[in-house]
C-alpha cells in the first residue's frame, strides 16, 4: 500500500459514501450538499490523476456553479415537497437491483480485460498538461471546432433556459 493508494481509497470511500447519501437522503437540500461533497471527491481524484486543470474546473464549475444552481432549484420548488412523504418510488428496489446489476455487469466485464492492471507511466519531464490542453483546444488541427460547438451549445442552453424558465404571468410586461 503506497501513500497514493491509501489516499485514493480514502477519497473513493468518502466520495461513494457521499454519493450514496445524495441518492438516499430525504432532504433535498442535504442531498445537494452531499453532492458538493461528492464532487469535491471527484476533484481530488482528478488531482490524483495529474489532471490539475480538470480538478480546478471541477471545483469551479461543478461545485461553484452547478451545485449552487441545484440548491437554488430545490429552494424554488421546495414549498410543496417539504420533506414529507417518500422520496423514493414505490418500485425503488427494482432500481436498486438494476443499479447493482449494472455495477456487477461493468465490473464483470472489466475483470477479463488485460489492461486492468496497467500502471500509469511517469509524466514526461517538462510536460505541462495544462499547456498541452490549451493548445489542443484552440489548435485548428485538433479540437477547435468541437470547442466552438460547445460554446455554441452553451449559448443555446443559456437562451433556452432563460426562455423556458421565464414566467409569462409574472415577468412579461408586454402582456
Amino acid at each position: 500500500m503506497t501513500t497514493a493508494q491509501i489516499i485514493f481509497l480514502v477519497v473513493a470511500a468518502v466520495t461513494l459514501a457521499s454519493a450514496f447519501m445524495v441518492v438516499t437522503t430525504r432532504n433535498l437540500i442535504h442531498a445537494a450538499l452531499w453532492l458538493v461533497a461528492t464532487l469535491f471527491g471527484v476533484a481530488v481524484t482528478y488531482a490524483l490523476l495529474d489532471a490539475g486543470f480538470l480538478a480546478v474546473v471541477q471545483v469551479v464549475v461543478y461545485i461553484g456553479a452547478i451545485a449552487i444552481l441545484f440548491i437554488f432549484a430545490v429552494m424554488l420548488t421546495r414549498k410543496e415537497m417539504r420533506d414529507q412523504g417518500p422520496q423514493l418510488n414505490s418500485g425503488w428496489w427494482i432500481s436498486a437491483l438494476l443499479a447493482v446489476l449494472t455495477f456487477g455487469g461493468l465490473v464483470g466485464m472489466l475483470w477479463g480485460w488485460r489492461g486492468m492492471d496497467t500502471l500509469a507511466s511517469e509524466m514526461p519531464v517538462g510536460f505541462d498538461s495544462i499547456n498541452a490542453l490549451g493548445d489542443a483546444l484552440i489548435s485548428p488541427n485538433a479540437f477547435v471546432l468541437p470547442f466552438e460547438v460547445a460554446s455554441v451549445l452553451l449559448l443555446a442552453a443559456l437562451v433556452g433556459a432563460v426562455y423556458v424558465a421565464f414566467n409569462p404571468r409574472s415577468g412579461d410586461s408586454r402582456k
Binding site: 418510488n89 427494482i94 432500481s95 438494476l98 446489476l101 449494472t102 455487469g105 466485464m109
Partner: protein
C-alpha cells in the same frame, strides 16, 4: 442636270405630293390641289425635257439613257434597279405625262372646287349638291364640293407615281412595283366612294381580278430572274446566247419553250391589267369610281400599262410561236367580244369601258401577230382619244348632274344615254371634243389619229397573212364605229329626251381645257405615223413614229408595203359603221325601241354570274371548309381527343387503381393495421420517464447479455 438624273426625278413629285397631302395639307382643299397639280406639272415638265432630249439622240435604241443602283443583295451579286428611257419609253412617257397632267387639272373642276359644302354630303358618298340662296332670296341647288377632295389628289399623286415608275423602269421588278402601286390606287379610287356597296364590291373585284394576273406575272418574273440572273430588259434581250437558250422549244409545260412559258406568265399579268378576256370583268365595274376621272385613269392610262409591259417583253414573246398564237387569239377575241357587248350598253361610261377593252384587244392582237410598232402606235393614239372620250363623258355627266340638281329629280340616272339627247347645244365644247374623240375611236379616215393606228394594225394582219385575225378585227372595227356613233347620236344629237337634259350646262374651264388639249392630240398624233408609201399623203410628213419606236429593238422591224385591201376595208368599216349608227339611232328614243338591247349582250354574256358560280362560290365554300371542317373539325378534333383521353386515363387510374388498391387497400389498410397496433401497445406509454429508462436499461441489459454470450461464444 443630266438626263439620267432627270429621269430618276420624274416619278418623285407625285409621290411627294401624296405624302404631303396625306400627312399635312389634307384639311386644306386649295393647298392640296395646288400641291397635286404642281407635282403633275413638275413631272410633266421633266418628262417633256427628257422626251425632247431623247428625240435629239441618234440611235436612241442602241444608246438609251440608263442609270442604275444596287438595290437587293442576292448572294455574291446585287440586284440592280434603275431607270432607262429608250424610244418606246420616251413615246409612252410623252402621252402619260400629258394625260396625267390633264387629269389633275380636270379633277379640280370635276370635284366642284369652289362650290359650297353639301347639305347632306358624307364622306364615302358622291356629293349630293348644296342649297344656296342668291341675292334675290331664291334658293338654288348647286353642285357641292367633294367631301374627300384632298384625298382624291393624294390618290391621284400615288397613281401618277406608279405610272411614271413603270414607264421609266429599266427592269421588270420596278415595273412590277409601279404596276402594283397602280393596282392599289385603282382599288382606292374605284372604292373612293366606299359608302356605296356597288363601289366597294367593284374595288375588290378590280383588285382581285388584276391580282390573279399579277400572281402569274410574279411567277413569270421569278422564273425569268432565276433563269437569267437579271431582270434588266437590255441585259436579257441583248444577250443573244441566253435568248437562244430560252427559245429552245418544247422544254416546259404544253410544249412551250422557256421563253414562251415566261412570256405567257407575264402575259397573264397583262390580261388582268389590260382587262382582256377572260379577266375583263373588272373594268366595266370600275366605272363606279368618281366619274369619270378615275375611270379615265383605268381606261386610258393604267390598262395601257399592261400593253406597255407586253410591248416591253416583245423580244421574249416573239421567241415562241405558240405563245404568240395565244396572245393573238386573246387579243382578237377580246376585241370582237367586248365590241359586241358595248353595242348593248346604255351607261355612257360603260360603253367606253367596253370599247377600251376592245381597243386593248386590238393592241394585243397586233402584238400577237408581231406588229409591235403598230401596237405601240395604237397605244399612244388610243390613250389620247380615249382619255378625251372619258373626260368628255365625265363632262356630259357633270352637265347632266347639273340638270338633275336643277329639277331635283334624283331618280334620273345622269349616266344613262337614253336620258340625254340634244346636248350639242347645251354643251358645245364638250360636243365637239367628244365628236373628235369618237371619230378617232371609230377610225374616221385620214383626219383622226385612230384611223392611222388602226389601219396599221389591219395592214399588218393582212400583210402577215393572219386572215382570221384580219377579218375579226375588221368586224370589231365596224362595231366600234357603230356603237360610237350610237353613243354620239343618243347623247348629243336630236332633241333632249328629259327635263334634266334640257337643263344641262357646259362645264367650267378646268374641265374643258383638258378636253381641247387632248382633242388636238387625238387628231394630230396620227400624222406622225403615216406610212411612207401611203397614196397622196405618204411622205408629206416623215413616218416618225415608226422610225423612232422601231429603233427600240436591235432588229429594226421591216416596213410593210402598202396594200389597198386593208385600206379599203378600214375605210368601209369606219365610214359604214358611223353612217349606220347615225341612221339607226337618230330615230330611236328609248331603250325599248333599241333593237340591240339583246339580253345576252346586255348581261355581258353572263360572265359575272359564271365566275360567281365557278370561282367565288367555291372559294368561299373552301374557306369555310378549311376553318370549320379542317381546322376546328379534324385537327382540333384530334387534339380534343387527346385532352379528354388523357383526362380519361387519369380518371381511370384514379378510380380503378389509386382509390381502391393504393388508397383503400394499401394506404388505408396499412394505416388501420398501424392504428390497431398502436392502440394495443398504447398502455406502454405511461409518460413516466423513469419507467422508460428502466425499460430501456432492462432491454439494454438483455440485448447486451445476449450479444455478449452469443458473440463471446463465437469469439
Amino acid at each position: 442636270m443630266t438626263t439620267e438624273t432627270l429621269i430618276w426625278l420624274i416619278p418623285l413629285p407625285p409621290a411627294l405630293a401624296f405624302f404631303l397631302i396625306v400627312l399635312f395639307t389634307n384639311k386644306n382643299k386649295a393647298l392640296s390641289h395646288t400641291v397635286g397639280v404642281g407635282a403633275a406639272v413638275l413631272s410633266w415638265l421633266a418628262s417633256m425635257v427628257v422626251f425632247f432630249r431623247a428625240l435629239s439622240v441618234e440611235h436612241l435604241g442602241e444608246h438609251p439613257f440608263v442609270s442604275s443602283v444596287n438595290w437587293l443583295p442576292t448572294g455574291d451579286t446585287w440586284f440592280r434597279i434603275g431607270v432607262a428611257i429608250d424610244p418606246l419609253g420616251a413615246a409612252v412617257l410623252f402621252f402619260v405625262s400629258i394625260t396625267i397632267f390633264m387629269i389633275f387639272l380636270y379633277s379640280v373642276g370635276y370635284h366642284n372646287f369652289g362650290q359650297p359644302a353639301g347639305d347632306h354630303d358624307r364622306k364615302g358618298l358622291p356629293p349630293h349638291g348644296a342649297t344656296v340662296t342668291d341675292e334675290h332670296g331664291h334658293q338654288h341647288v348647286v353642285p357641292s364640293v367633294e367631301p374627300m377632295y384632298s384625298r382624291f389628289f393624294a390618290f391621284l399623286g400615288l397613281f401618277a407615281f406608279g405610272m411614271y415608275t413603270l414607264v421609266v423602269s429599266d427592269n421588270l421588278l420596278t415595273l412590277f412595283v409601279g404596276w402594283e402601286i397602280m393596282g392599289l390606287c385603282s382599288y382606292l379610287l374605284i372604292g373612293f366612294w366606299y359608302g356605296k356597296p356597288s363601289a366597294r364590291a367593284a374595288a375588290i373585284k378590280a383588285f382581285m381580278t388584276t391580282r390573279i394576273g399579277d400572281v402569274f406575272m410574279l411567277l413569270g418574273i421569278g422564273l425569268l430572274y432565276s433563269l437569267t440572273g437579271t431582270l434588266n430588259f437590255r441585259e436579257i434581250f441583248g444577250n443573244e446566247e441566253l435568248m437562244h437558250t430560252l427559245a429552245t422549244p418544247g422544254t416546259t409545260l404544253f410544249g412551250l419553250s422557256l421563253a414562251g412559258l415566261i412570256a405567257l406568265l407575264l402575259f397573264i399579268g397583262t390580261v388582268g391589267k389590260s382587262a382582256q378576256w377572260p379577266l375583263h370583268v373588272w373594268l366595266p365595274d370600275a366605272m363606279e369610281g368618281p366619274t369619270p376621272v378615275s375611270a379615265m385613269i383605268h381606261a386610258a392610262t393604267m390598262v395601257s400599262a399592261g400593253v406597255y409591259a407586253v410591248i416591253r417583253m416583245f423580244p421574249l414573246l416573239s421567241l415562241d410561236h405558240n405563245t404568240m398564237t395565244v396572245v393573238a387569239f386573246i387579243g382578237t377575241f377580246t376585241a370582237i367580244f367586248a365590241a359586241t357587248i358595248a353595242v348593248a350598253q346604255n351607261d355612257i361610261k360603260r360603253v367606253l369601258a367596253y370599247s377600251t377593252i376592245s381597243q386593248l384587244g386590238f393592241m394585243i392582237a397586233a402584238l400577237g401577230i408581231g406588229a409591235y410598232v403598230a401596237a405601240a402606235f395604237h397605244l399612244v393614239t388610243h390613250a389620247f382619244f380615249k382619255a378625251l372620250l372619258f373626260l368628255g363623258s365625265g363632262s356630259v355627266i357633270h352637265g347632266m348632274e347639273h340638270g338633275v340638281l336643277h329639277t331635283g329629280n334624283h331618280s334620273v340616272d345622269p349616266q344613262d344615254m337614253f336620258n340625254m339627247g340634244g346636248l350639242r347645244k347645251k354643251m358645245p365644247i364638250t360636243f365637239w371634243t367628244f365628236l373628235i374623240g369618237g371619230f378617232a375611236l371609230s377610225g374616221f379616215p385620214l383626219l383622226t389619229a385612230g384611223f392611222w393606228s388602226k389601219d396599221e394594225i389591219l395592214a399588218d394582219a393582212w400583210a402577215n397573212g393572219h386572215l382570221a385575225v384580219f377579218i375579226t378585227l375588221a368586224t370589231a372595227a365596224f362595231l366600234t364605229a357603230f356603237y360610237t356613233m350610237r353613243q354620239i347620236t343618243l347623247t348629243f344629237l336630236g332633241e333632249p329626251r328629259t327635263k334634266e337634259a334640257e337643263h344641262a350646262q357646259e362645264t367650267p374651264w378646268t374641265m374643258t381645257v383638258p378636253l381641247m388639249v387632248l382633242s388636238v392630240f387625238a387628231i394630230g398624233y396620227g400624222w406622225v405615223g403615216i406610212p411612207e408609201d401611203f397614196p397622196l399623203l405618204g411622205g408629206l410628213l416623215p413616218s416618225w413614229f415608226h422610225e423612232f419606236v422601231g429603233g427600240t429593238l436591235a432588229e429594226h422591224p421591216e416596213v410593210i408595203p402598202f396594200n389597198p385591201v386593208p385600206l379599203t376595208v378600214s375605210l368601209v368599216v369606219a365610214l359604214g359603221g358611223l353612217l349606220l349608227g347615225w341612221l339607226y339611232y337618230r330615230n330611236v328614243n328609248s331603250a325599248k325601241e333599241d333593237f340591240f338591247q339583246i339580253p345576252l349582250l346586255k348581261n355581258k354574256y353572263h360572265f359575272d354570274e359564271a365566275y360567281q358560280v365557278v370561282f367565288i362560290g367555291p372559294v368561299i365554300w373552301l374557306s369555310e371548309v378549311f376553318t370549320k371542317w379542317a381546322d376546328q373539325g379534324v385537327i382540333d378534333g384530334i387534339l380534343h381527343f387527346f385532352g379528354p383521353a388523357t383526362g380519361g386515363i387519369g380518371a381511370f387510374i384514379r378510380n380503378k387503381i389509386d382509390l381502391p388498391i393504393i388508397n383503400e387497400f394499401i394506404g388505408d389498410g396499412l394505416a388501420a393495421v398501424t392504428q390497431e397496433t398502436g392502440r394495443t401497445l398504447r398502455p406502454i406509454q405511461t409518460g413516466r420517464i423513469q419507467q422508460y429508462m428502466m425499460l430501456s436499461l432492462v432491454i439494454l441489459a438483455v440485448v447486451g447479455a445476449l450479444l455478449y454470450f452469443m458473440l463471446g461464444a463465437g469469439l
